[in-house]
């Protein structure tokens, strides 16, 4: 266990340069690359005094590393500027919208694992039986269709046609709001009617976000479980007299789950991206839809930057969790 503690500390320390590196890339994209076309073209006609004052205000007269320091400081202190679209500080906008996106992505991730892992296990245990073929065809279909097709199709079927689930908007806000994720908040303050309503509203978007990825996970799980089951160490557990249940659950499954942790974690980033589309289809007031609007309506660069920052941070955090989980399961990575 001491070994794991060192691994944890080391991993946490590498988190800092990773964040700085990621921010540096977004900094280059936003500050260094775009020069002011207006300034370049019409410098003669501009009020140079005013321009200088503006440059000073935004520290644009400073060397790039100082600018980078201000950039990082502003990002971490929530000084993200004002949205041209809503006229509100971007920080406040995203405090409302981003939790919706995160909640959707988490629900999507949960569904991916809940659907993909069991299907993969069943397919592996019944290898080459009819159920295995059914699952393989399902996963092929699931991941060969893009998010937006699934989103539209699922909305059409379960909302418009069958009416089983609400297909548009968020659920009833809970009595108290802590995180902005309604499902979690309603659970925290024990508001059950809001909890149920949000669960129902979340289901279709999360399901359409999960389906393509669940197909990938089912296939991966099937393959890695079959690999594990045919390995020599599994063979040896049988020679020791372990019952089949223990052979599969304790030894084969634990080994087979390792690639699922890695790939499943990486998928989370894709889910945040996919949420942009899903939110648009299901009319959810999330960061994805907010950013899409900002781009379409007014080319609101600061909004794009802020969302990018949030997604980068979330992604790095998920990566950290993945690594910690990975280290907890596999002693070989703790070196």
């Amino acid at each position: 266990m001491a070994e794991y503690k060192y691994y944890l500390i080391r991993r946490l320390l590498t988190f800092i340069p990773t964040i700085l590196g990621a921010l540096f890339i977004t900094f280059i994209v936003s500050h260094v690359v775009p020069m002011m076309p207006a300034k370049a073209g019409f410098a003669r006609h501009l009020n140079l005094e005013a321009l200088k004052r503006l440059e000073q205000l935004y520290h644009l007269d400073k060397p790039w590393w100082e600018q980078f320091a201000y950039y990082v400081r502003d990002l971490f202190t929530g000084h993200w500027g004002t949205s041209m679209m809503s006229g509100r500080p971007i920080f406040e906008d995203l405090r409302d919208y981003y939790p919706v996106t995160v909640q959707l992505a988490i629900a999507g991730e949960a569904l991916i694992l809940l659907i993909g892992v069991p299907l993969g296990i069943v397919a592996a245990m019944k290898q080459d039986k009819w159920i295995d073929y059914v699952i393989r065809v399902f996963s092929l279909v699931a991941y060969s269709m893009p998010y937006f097709l699934w989103a539209i199709g699922i909305q059409l079927l379960f909302y418009w046609k069958l009416g089983w689930f609400p297909g548009i908007g968020l659920g009833k806000p809970p009595a108290k709001i802590y995180t902005g994720m309604y499902l979690l908040d309603s659970l925290l303050c024990g508001d059950w009617s809001s909890f149920i309503d949000n669960l129902r509203h979340l289901f279709l978007p999360a399901f359409s976000l999960a389906l393509p990825n669940a197909g990938v996970i089912a296939r991966l799980m099937r393959g890695s479980l079959l690999d594990a089951l045919s390995s020599e160490y599994i063979d040896y557990t049988r020679m020791k007299g372990l019952p089949e249940r223990m052979v599969v659950l304790k030894h084969a499954m634990k080994n087979a789950i390792i690639p699922i942790i890695t790939v499943g974690g990486l998928m989370f980033g894709g889910l945040l991206g996919g949420a942009f589309i899903t939110e648009t289809v299901f009319a959810l007031a999330g960061a994805g839809r907010y950013t899409v609007m900002a781009v379409l309506r007014s080319m609101d660069i600061p909004v794009i930057m802020a969302t990018t920052f949030l997604i980068v941070m979330t992604y790095l955090l998920v990566n950290l969790v993945v690594d910690l989980l990975y280290g907890a399961v596999d002693p070989r990575v703790r070196l």
Binding site: E232, Y233, G241, H251, N255
Partner: protein, 325 residues
């Protein structure tokens, strides 16, 4: 001394592959006596491992035991339900595998893995007692710093240490029979000697029966009481070690013995390989499976399988040179 612990009768194991049915084991008969060290030798691919795995009913797919009987301590193993065979594995029959490097699960501590048989066969009351027993086991197989090593993961141990862990696992429940499938092929010569010493000590201590599978005739001469020679899925000769080395009967055995490197006085190493190659077991040669490589082949060898005959007391051979036609 002559009490029998294991008897294999007419064992046939076929592998149902896409290329065809591989007739890997075709009618093996042998019997192992309580307390002895029984050697099983033969070229690679002749079916030693498959025969041994049949004893605990664990033939790897796509293999299937087609026919035959296996009696272990009087029990008809092949007709026992799976739950009963499981009680033999690890408990009454300890297995030392050919590949210690890949026989251990990378995700569990080696001590836990060595103690698993104790747990599943209910020989310890809890995990704590298991760990105590494991440390003692590691001491028995002479793993230095047994307590610390037992807490290591497989990737932290050397090949020789892993082999010892596998041996500790095999003897954990003090089985009546240990099957050691080439326990020394993947370790260097010094460790090989240590491991053989270890097996000898264990036998002395517990009186365990040992089946030693190998293609190293030197090891057989050093360790075994009796030995069976296998060729292409069949036993061709069975005798006590002394008789077999002094007076081999089957042309294949003679060839094998000549294939052992002999260092002459001039320090030149001689090695005479047996001409020809191991036959394809999907379409094995008719009659005696060795006949295409045999220098003494006769007409009947190509048509009929030779019966096993007792040429001298306790010395059996399956060859038309010795059988009545």
């Amino acid at each position: 001394m002559n009490e029998e612990i294991l008897r294999i009768e007419g064992l046939k194991v076929y592998f149902y592959t896409y290329a065809g049915v591989v007739k890997a084991i075709e009618g093996v008969n042998l019997s192992v006596r309580k307390g002895e060290c029984f050697g099983l030798v033969g070229e690679t691919g002749c079916g030693k491992s498959v025969t041994m795995r049949s004893v605990i009913k664990l033939v790897p797919p796509p293999g299937r035991i087609v026919s035959g009987k296996i009696y272990f301590e009087g029990l008809d193993v092949l007709s026992l339900p799976e739950s009963e065979v499981r009680k033999l594995r690890g408990r009454k029959i300890g297995f030392i595998v050919q590949e210690p490097m890949s026989a251990l699960d990378p995700l569990y501590k080696v001590g836990y893995q060595a103690g698993e048989p104790l747990l599943v066969h209910g020989l310890v009351k809890d995990v704590k007692e298991m760990w105590k027993r494991v440390v003692n086991l590691f001491k028995t197989v002479m793993i230095p710093e047994p307590k610390e090593r037992s807490r290591n993961y497989p990737h932290e141990l050397s090949g020789g240490m892993k082999q010892r862990v596998v041996i500790a696992t095999a003897i954990s429940c003090v089985p009546d029979l240990i099957i050691a499938d080439e326990p020394t092929t993947n370790v260097d010569v010094t460790i090989q000697a240590q491991i053989l010493d270890l097996l000898r000590d264990l036998r002395r201590k517990y009186g365990t029966t040992l089946i030693l599978v190998t293609h190293n005739l030197g090891i057989v001469a050093e360790m075994c009481d009796r030995v069976a020679v296998m060729y292409a899925g069949q036993i061709v000769e069975l005798a006590n070690v002394y008789d077999l080395f002094k007076d081999p009967l089957h042309p294949y055995t003679k060839g094998l013995l000549e294939a052992v490197p002999i260092i002459t006085k001039s320090r030149e190493v001689r090695l005479k390989p047996i001409p020809g190659t191991i036959p394809n077991l999907i379409r094995p040669p008719p009659g005696c499976r060795f006949h295409p490589r045999c220098s003494l082949v006769a007409e009947i060898c190509k048509r009929e399988r030779p019966p096993m005959v007792e040429v001298k007391p306790e010395h059996y051979v399956a060859c038309w040179l010795y059988a009545k036609r």
